[in-house]
């Protein structure tokens, strides 16, 4: 299991537009990815390709999340996702 942490950079947190961009990116990857707030049990991690799950996670600006995935390409996949989360998507 590969794991990466990321700090949410989008100004108003992981809401509609940034969440949509992130969820679409996850959907395009060859692996399944879960997301959880840092400190939450891995069992409670949510499906990162689900925009509704992302919204219910309620990750705010500055909060740290943990991304997990396994299988071929998991590391690269997580790297690309961390980049997305750590860009201020609201600024675009």
């Amino acid at each position: 299991m590969s794991e990466r942490t990321a700090t949410i950079a989008s100004r108003v947190g992981l809401h509609a537009r940034p969440a949509a961009i992130f969820a679409e990116a996850v959907g395009a990857l060859p692996v399944e990815v879960t997301i959880a707030l840092e400190g939450d049990p891995a069992d409670d991690a949510m499906d990162a390709s689900s925009i509704l799950s992302l919204m219910s996670l309620g990750a705010a600006n500055g909060q740290v999340v943990v991304l997990r995935a396994e299988g071929d390409g998991a590391d690269e996949a997580l790297e690309s996702l961390v980049k997305i989360l750590e860009t201020d998507l609201d600024a675009e």
Binding site: A16, D47, S56
Partner: protein, 542 residues
């Protein structure tokens, strides 16, 4: 417009011929189809609309939503329609409980749900149809939410079988400058794609229009463009000044109204600051919001209406949705009885916002029913440092006791929409009662006359304005001026038309027409007789 999607019966199970696997496959396909359609629409959209469409497109095939529904299908044997209905209901509730921005997305989930169910049933998707060709929209009635998706560049006119002259459809139509006919019983039977001619002023819908009607429609469109400009000073032909102000719901509206020439704001609906929230906005949030409006009208009058929650504008933290008669319930000023403090804080915010600007800020309370309430409100305003307190006259008791009330405050503003509803004991939103709900009703005109008489008797020339939809009707505006109303406040779009018609009558003529309207045996007669004396209405296609 397709009818709203009805809830699949509770406990509905799979049809005996359908397996759980088949239903799951069908559901996923329907979700994907809805997703594709929303995505396609997002391509043509811009700005906030685009973001919302993109996010809802993703929601349509969201794993959480679909997995939840598939689980119900496979473990409970629930039908696909019922399964998606229930799954979306729990997701919506979860979002609602998160509050704030997330709670607002709950309605998006329900919209997506309706689309998926419509797809499963093989019926057209709910909501205003997307179309490249301009069209006339025919519906049962339109909700406030429909305004967001209504594009006046594509929708030419509105026709509803329900609603009334003061329903949301009428308000939307006036705001967008669209011809509209409401309470048109039977229009549901007009086939999609039929050619129709809609005459909003005459209140008629004609199928298979002839060449004359087509020409008339084109002429009106041409005129509507010239009528868009208001010179900035409302007056009768003989120079009697009638300031024409705008009804606004926030800074963006205010800026547009100022650009349209409004001489001030006759009604600032402060609900925009409070709606869709779980808690009261902070002082700073309110100050910023109100200042945005004040800054658009330096040196001009801005009349702020304090929070008007309740009835068709529920606020979860302030009003009780379980009241048996919301229109007669704890609404407007009355919420101060059950939730004291909110109004006081709002007044403090208004005063702070006013200090930082050059607008002349007046404040009025909605739903005032007694002189005692007026006195209490005036005292609260003084305490907050607000110099010009007033009341809305929408409860008939206030119209009938206006002399006493005006002895306690500085001005009155007639809210004709609700005044008509209460005077005629007719719910504004019920189609069958539409004929009762017009401000042309002689009884309503009489109440307006009495309010003005109260001001005259009080002896200090305290102004009486009208800020209801009545002010936006050019013929009725003439009658109001004739009845002695001092100012008219309306949607910014109506300013030019009202100014153009007022400029064609002298004050004595307006008074004569007011007399004709008051003496008429019915609302229809009042309107017809007044309109017959105003040839300018036909000339301008109003």
């Amino acid at each position: 417009m397709p009818k709203a999607v009805s809830e699949p019966p509770a406990g509905e199970k799979l049809a005996s011929s359908t397996t759980a696997e088949d239903a799951a496959v069908t559901l996923r396909a329907a979700a994907k189809a809805v997703q594709a359609e929303l995505k396609q629409r997002s391509v043509g959209a811009t700005g906030a609309g685009k973001s919302v469409l993109e996010a809802t497109a993703l929601m349509a095939a969201d794993p959480m939503l679909i997995k939840g529904a598939v689980k119900l299908i496979t473990t409970n044997g629930t039908s696909a329609e019922r399964a998606i209905w229930e799954s979306a209901a729990s997701v919506a509730e979860m979002l609602h409980n998160l509050g704030g921005y997330m709670a607002e997305r709950a309605t998006d989930v329900l919209d997506v749900r309706a689309r998926i169910v419509a797809e499963l049933r093989g019926v057209p998707a709910p909501g205003i149809p997307a179309s490249d060709e301009p069209f006339i929209l025919v519906a049962d009635d339109l909700a406030p939410a429909d305004t967001a998706t209504l594009n006046p560049a594509v929708v030419l006119a509105l026709v509803t079988s329900g609603g009334g002259p003061q329903s949301h459809t009428a308000i939307i139509a006036r705001a967008l400058g669209l011809p509209a006919v409401v309470a048109a019983v039977g229009v549901e039977s007009i086939a999609d794609g039929s050619a129709v001619y809609v005459d909003g002023a005459a209140g008629s819908i004609t199928l298979d229009p002839d060449a004359d009607q087509v020409a008339a429609a084109e002429a009106w469109a041409a005129n509507a463009a010239t009528l868009a400009v208001f010179s900035g000073e409302g007056a009768t032909a003989d120079g009697h000044l009638v300031p024409l102000l705008a009804n606004v719901g926030g800074a963006a509206d205010a800026v547009k109204a100022a650009a349209a020439g409004a001489q001030g704001v006759g009604l600032l609906r402060t609900e925009f600051c409070f709606l869709d929230r779980d808690e009261e906005p902070t002082l700073d949030e309110q100050v910023t919001a109100y200042r945005g409006v004040f800054d658009a009208f330096p040196g001009k009058k801005v009349v702020v209406r304090t929070l008007d929650a309740g009835a068709d504008k529920p606020l979860p933290f302030l009003t009780d949705a379980s009241e048996p008669n919301p229109a007669l319930g704890v609404r407007g000023y009355r919420t101060d009885f059950t939730s004291p403090g909110v109004l006081k804080r709002q007044l403090a915010a208004i005063a702070t916002a006013a200090e930082g600007t050059e607008a002349d800020v007046w404040v009025m309370a909605p739903m005032i029913s007694t002189a005692e309430e007026a006195a209490d409100f005036a005292a609260m305003c003084r305490e907050a440092g607000l110099k010009t307190p007033g009341v809305m006259v929408e409860v008939p008791s206030a119209a009938l006791t206006s002399e006493t009330i005006l002895g306690l405050v500085d001005f009155a503003s007639l809210g004709t929409n609700d005044l008509t509803q209460y005077a005629m004991a007719a719910d504004r939103q019920l189609g069958p009662l539409a004929a009762l709900n017009t401000p042309w009703q002689p009884a309503v005109l009489k109440l307006i006359q009495l309010t003005v008489a109260g001001s005259v008797a009080e002896g200090n020339n305290k102004p009486v304005g009208v800020c209801g939809e009545a002010a936006a009707d050019p013929a009725l505006a003439v009658v109001l001026v004739g009845l002695g109303v001092n100012t008219l406040s309306m949607t910014a779009r109506a300013l030019a038309a009202v100014a153009a018609v007022l400029a064609k009558v002298t004050l004595p003529e307006a008074q004569r027409l007011a007399g004709i309207a008051l003496a008429a045996p019915s609302a229809l007669e009042a309107r017809a007789r007044v309109r017959a004396e105003l040839p300018v209405l036909d000339e301008l296609g109003l």
